[in-house]
């Protein structure tokens, strides 16, 4: 069964350092999402791509976060510099292109980030 891949699974970094997360969606899925999940909360959307274009990045802290999906396949989320409040689980998800398929999202295992 096809899965969403993410790496690394765990990352510990010091504040002010740069970190990057990678996501490979299910093959053929046009839409890719990055969510942030703070401990004890539900996931919140950071950025949504349709192919290589950003559809929604209204909740992405653009002074320190950046995301790209250059060829419309895999994606990288970067934080520079990391702050203590960035400690969270970062989840990637993907979905099909049209209609109700676009809401059925498949999640990767996530990257647990700890900023010290």
């Amino acid at each position: 069964e096809a899965e969403v891949a993410q790496s690394p699974r765990y990352k510990i970094t010091e504040k002010s350092q740069a970190v990057a997360f990678w996501c490979d969606p299910i093959s053929g899925h046009a839409t890719l999402y990055w969510y942030r999940q703070i401990l004890g909360q539900g996931p919140e959307l950071l950025v949504q791509f349709q192919d290589e274009s950003v559809v929604d990045d209204s909740q992405l802290p653009k002074d320190r976060f950046s995301a790209e999906r250059l060829k419309g396949v895999d994606s990288t989320l970067k934080i520079q510099p990391a702050e203590l409040g960035d400690s969270a689980m970062y989840l990637c998800a993907s979905s099909g292109r049209t209609g109700s398929d676009s809401y059925e999202q498949y999640f990767g295992p996530g990257t647990r980030l700890t900023v010290t």
Binding site: G42, P43, E44, L91, S100, S102, E104, G110
Partner: protein
Amino acid sequence: AQSVTQLDSQVPVFEEAPVELRCNYSSSVSVYLFWYVQYPNQGLQLLLKYLSGSTLVKGINGFEAEFNKSQTSFHLRKPSVHISDTAEYFCAAGGSQGNLIFGKGTKLSVKP
């Protein structure tokens, strides 16, 4: 504003007892509704979904949910829980851009 509310943050229950996890959604979200389960340090796994049709939806692991439009609810139920059902459960609704809006989660703790 688009929102999903999970009324209970924690639900303790004994093994083999029935359980209901409550979820209400705002009328401004779409009526595409989902329940996901998350085990510690893992991603989210889809339990079931309501897109259209029958208001009673059956999912994996013996879970089911009922869509109630008049009460804007989508409660999750299981007639008999197992220790292995201990996890966090998230209700979600489709947003205007095709994204998902999640509730804050309910931690289900099944005791022997």
